[in-house]
Amino acid sequence: MSALLSIQGMSHYFGGLKAVSNFTFDVPEGVIYGLIGPNGSGKTTTFNLITGIYTPTEGKVLFEGRDITGQKPFRIVQGGVARTFQNLRIFGNLSVIDNIRVARHFTVKSGLFTSLLRLPSFKQEEEVVREEAMQLIKMMHLEDRAFDQAKNLPYGALRRLEIARALATKPKLVLLDEPAAGMNPKETDDLMGLIRQVRDDFKVTVFLIEHHMKLVMNVCERVKVIDFGETIA
C-alpha cells in the first residue's frame, strides 16, 4: 500500500499500433524510479497516460490510492504529479522567473479582483511567490538569467528550468522525460547529482525515463525495462 503511483494493466493503442501493452507496476514513495527502453518503446506514451494527456485504452492509474485515470491534466498536476518533456516545452517569450511563477499560479489565493486592484494581500502573496521562485532559480544555477527571456538560454539551462518549473507546482511525484537528452557527459554527471538533491530536498518521488543505461544505473534505485510496449524486466 506504500505505492505512490500504481499502474494496473494499462494498455494504449494508436489506431492499430499498440504503444503500451498491459503495464503493471508500482512506484514506491520516496525512491528514484527508472524506466528504460529503446526509442519508440512507449516510454513517453506512459508519461502521457499518467498525466492525462491520453486516456488509456485499458487499465488504471492510481495516485496515492486514488483512481486518476482519465482526469484532465491540470487536475492531475494540481493533485501532485508534475512532469518535464522530452522535447522542451518552455514558455520562450516569458522570463525565466515567470516560467516558474506560472507553475505556482494555482496555489495563489488572490482572486481576480484582488489582483486587478493590486490590494496589499495580493502584493504580499506575490512577494512569497517571487521568493520561492528565486530559491528554485538559485538551486538550478539560473540566477544570472532570472529576468531574461527563456528562449535566449542555452539548452542545458532550459532542461534545468523545466525541472524547476515542475517543482514549482509542489508535486509529490516528478516525472522526468529523458532529462539528459542532448547533454554532454559533464552535464549528465551534474544532472545526476541534481536529481538526487531534488529528491532529498523536496521530499519528492522521482520517476524518470531514459534510454542511456549509464544515467539510469547510476541514479535509479528501482529500474523497469520495456521494449516495444512489452515489459522485459
Partner: protein, 336 residues
C-alpha cells in the same frame, strides 16, 4: 511619506490629459472640435485594441468579431440612456448614471462573450475564429430586425455624454486594469497558454477557464468602448459593427505588436488618425472619366488599403511597432 512618487503611468496619463485640455476648444482652442473627435475616437479604439489584444495577443486565441461586443455595449447602454432613463447631458447629476449605463453595457457584452466563448473555447482547434466571424454578422442581422432599437435605421437620439474627460477616464482605467491583469498570476496563466498550451495545462493551468476568462474580460471592455462610441456619435447603427470594423481593430493589434499593450495604444492612435487622413484624402481626389463613364473613388477604399497593410504585416512576419515589448511606462517595476 516624503518620498512619495507619482506612478509613471498615472503621470503619463495626466500629462496627456492636461495637454489636450489646454489645447481644446474650451480653453486655448488650438485644436478644433473636429480634431478633438479624432482624439476621442482614438481613445475609444485604444480600449478596443488592448481588449482584443488580451484575447488574441496575450491568451493566444483568435477572435474576429470584436466589434460585435461593441455593438452589444452600444445598444444596451444606448437603450438605457436614451429610451429608459432619458438622460440629459446638460444635467451634471446625470453623468454618474451615464457611467453606470456604460458599465451595464460592458456587462451585457461580457454575458454574450461567455455564451459564445464557453462552448467554442472548450473545443480544440480554430472554432473561436469561425464562431466570432459568424457572430459579427449575426448581431448585425438581429439589430436590423429589432424595431425597438431602430432596426436598419439604427438607434438614434443617443445623448452626447462622451466628453473627452469621460472617455479619457475609461481608457486610462482600461489600460491600468489590463496592465495589472497581465502582471498577476492570472495574467501569467493566460500568457502561458499562448506560449505553449500543453505545457501550460501541465503547469496546472485550467486552460479552458483562463481562455474563457480572457475572452469575457475582452468582451466586457469592447462593450464599454461600444457604449462610449455610441454616446460620442449620438447613434448606433448595425453597419458600424460588421466584419470590416472588427478587422480594423485586428489590424491595430497586429500593427502594434501581439501581446504588447503599449503597441496597441500607439497603433490605435496612429491608425485612427490615418483612417481620417485617408478619408479626407480620398474625398479630395478628383472624379475621372473612362469611356464616357465617370468614376469617383469612394472612402470604402480605405479598407482596401488596410487589407493590403494587413497582408504585408503577415507576409513579412513583422512584429508590429513594439513586438512583445512594453514601454517602461506600462511595466510595474520588480526589484531584481
Amino acid at each position: 511619506m516624503g518620498n512619495f512618487k507619482l506612478p509613471r503611468l498615472l503621470l503619463a496619463g495626466l500629462i496627456f490629459f492636461i495637454i489636450v485640455m489646454i489645447l481644446s476648444p474650451d480653453m486655448t482652442g488650438a485644436l478644433n472640435g473636429y480634431f478633438m473627435v479624432i482624439i476621442e475616437r482614438s481613445l475609444i479604439f485604444v480600449i478596443l485594441a488592448i481588449s482584443l489584444n488580451l484575447i488574441n495577443g496575450i491568451t493566444g486565441q483568435f477572435s474576429l468579431g470584436h466589434m460585435g461586443f461593441a455593438a452589444v455595449g452600444a445598444y444596451v447602454s444606448g437603450t438605457f440612456t436614451s429610451i429608459w432613463f432619458k438622460l440629459n447631458p446638460h444635467t451634471l447629476s446625470h453623468y454618474p448614471v451615464f457611467m453606470i449605463c456604460i458599465v451595464i453595457g460592458g456587462l451585457g457584452a461580457a454575458v454574450v462573450g461567455f455564451l459564445i466563448g464557453f462552448p467554442s473555447l472548450r473545443l480544440k482547434g480554430d472554432y473561436l475564429a469561425i464562431v466570432t466571424l459568424g457572430f459579427g454578422e449575426i448581431i448585425r442581422t438581429i439589430l436590423n430586425n429589432i424595431d425597438y432599437v431602430g432596426g436598419p435605421r439604427g438607434l438614434l437620439g443617443i445623448p452626447m455624454f462622451s466628453k473627452f474627460p469621460i472617455i479619457m477616464l475609461f481608457a486610462f482605467l482600461t489600460v491600468v486594469i489590463l496592465r495589472n491583469l497581465v502582471q498577476s498570476s492570472h495574467g501569467r496563466a493566460m500568457l502561458s497558454i499562448r506560449e505553449n498550451e500543453l505545457a501550460s495545462e501541465l503547469c496546472g493551468v485550467d486552460t479552458v477557464r483562463y481562455k474563457v476568462m480572457g475572452f469575457v474580460i475582452g468582451a466586457f471592455f469592447a462593450g464599454i468602448a461600444g457604449g462610449l462610441l455610441a454616446h460620442l456619435l449620438t447613434l448606433a447603427h448595425p453597419t458600424q459593427y460588421g466584419f470590416l470594423p472588427s478587422a480594423l481593430v485586428l489590424i491595430m493589434v497586429y500593427a502594434g505588436g501581439m501581446g504588447s499593450l503599449t503597441g496597441s495604444v500607439l497603433a490605435a492612435f496612429t491608425l485612427t488618425f490615418l483612417t481620417e487622413g485617408l478619408r479626407v484624402g480620398i474625398d479630395a481626389l478628383p472624379e475621372f472619366t473612362i469611356a464616357s463613364q465617370t468614376y469617383k473613388i469612394g472612402t470604402e477604399w480605405t479598407m482596401v488599403i488596410y487589407a493590403i497593410l494587413l497582408i504585408l504585416i503577415m507576409l513579412f512576419k513583422t512584429e508590429g511597432i513594439m513586438g512583445m515589448r512594453e514601454s517602461r511606462i506600462l511595466i510595474i517595476e520588480e526589484k531584481k
